[in-house]
Symmetry: none
DNA sequence: AGTATACAGGAACATCTGTTTTATGTCAAA
DNA sequence: TTTGACATAAAACAGATGTTCCTGTATACT
């Protein structure tokens, strides 16, 4: 299980330096300049942590471009850079007994739907435009550690990689479920987040991937 | 000196392109990228005009640095907006076996701690300054529908009202727990979020309210 | 004409800079 | 203990990028 994107001291240092550097120079630092400042002797380590920051949603990078990075998040102690509010479409509800009804063209339904604010860290490396949110109805997903009223953030996709938390529609059971996806030979194993529940083995024909679960938000009273 | 009409059409084009490029990408264009956009086949010509723009005071350059230029003047089409994001201090971790360690003065620890962005909806009616966040360590709070890696948003308070989700320190058990708070005569009843678990009855002396749980955030891979 | 200046183009060059590969140490889970 | 994920390093590599030198054109001035 991957922990919430909490930054190491080194990554925080890098982020602070990059932000200050951009503000002072008007262009981002190179990998080696970051390494010098943060006392990192190896460019690959800087590169490694830079990619971590991308995953965490703090920066974006352009491949093979010198100084090709931009700070998208806000760093403590720094004045905010240009930051568009991250908004995700709340397109509907999800319950066990119903399939996830996704409009083929999400953008088409924008004006009649709600939007919610989501921190960049909860979107991972994905863009807000390809992500949507569902409100969970009922307690049928307790085995996924998700309860009534939770907001699930998903990215629409029909395939999944091992370890992904996915929203799957089980045709035979007429049930929507959120579980971790693993391919086991010809079968698919779905593991619940709560270890107190048993994994489920299904044939691919019975399991339709609806999306990848990126995050969950829950607000108490 | 800052007279737009003094510049050749080519230089104006370059200036417009560079400004737009920085706004879109977060970093300046290379000499060759400028050349492609402005239909200049030779890098030396771009370099020549770039130096002209430096003389005219529109930009600054750093020698021998990739994309080492910054736009210093305000060119038509620039905007600056500063909207303070909602930031909450991530002051530490929470695990079952340890008390929640809260600094008496949260603000005092700002510089050494992490900050996370939180959507306003997860803060309820409370202000970001009186709220803090904890990273959950371990799976000891499964009965509260909270798992390893989750981020819990809390408001610091020593009392609670019926129905509040609270973080409580059970002295006798040396355990931190997140449960719903109810006063039952002289006793306190703590109800887990997961109905599969049993409520807990404790005497007030054994139950120390540490804060009110406002929300939970969880990020998968 | 002759010269100076501003501007433009091409190509070679040096090095700046991101990427990849391989190896090492740490730490927690099995 | 063994395993594997994660973080860290060092070095070699390939590509991106600024610099420089040389040449050519057009215009204005003496």
């Amino acid at each position: 299980m991957k922990e919430f994107h909490r930054l190491s001291a080194r990554q925080q240092h890098m982020l602070r330096f990059m932000t200050a550097f951009v503000r002072e120079n008007g262009y981002p630092p190179s990998i080696r300049e970051i390494g010098d400042e943060c006392l990192i002797g190896s460019t690959s380590v800087v590169n490694y942590n830079l990619n971590k920051l991308v995953e965490a949603g703090y920066i974006q990078r352009s491949d093979r471009v010198s100084r090709g990075l931009r700070i998208v998040g806000d760093i403590p102690g720094m004045q905010a850079e240009t930051k568009p509010p991250l908004q995700v479409a709340l397109v509907g509800r999800i319950a066990a007994g119903e399939p996830i009804s996704l409009p083929d063209d999400i953008a088409h339904h924008i004006d009649e739907d709600d939007y919610i604010n989501v921190p960049p860290a909860l979107l991972g490396k994905y863009d807000a435009s390809e992500v949507f949110a569902l409100a969970v109805r009922g307690d049928s997903m307790i085995d996924a550690m998700i309860q009534n009223g939770d907001i699930v953030i998903l990215r629409r996709q029909n395939t999944a990689e091992n370890g992904d938390m996915v929203a799957a529609w089980l045709k035979e059971d007429s049930e929507t479920t959120l579980k971790r996806f693993y391919r086991r030979g010809d079968m698919i194993e779905l593991q619940p987040a709560n270890p107190a529940y048993q994994p489920l083995q299904v044939v691919p024909e019975n399991c339709e991937i609806k999306g990848k679960v990126l995050s969950v938000m829950r607000a108490y009273a």
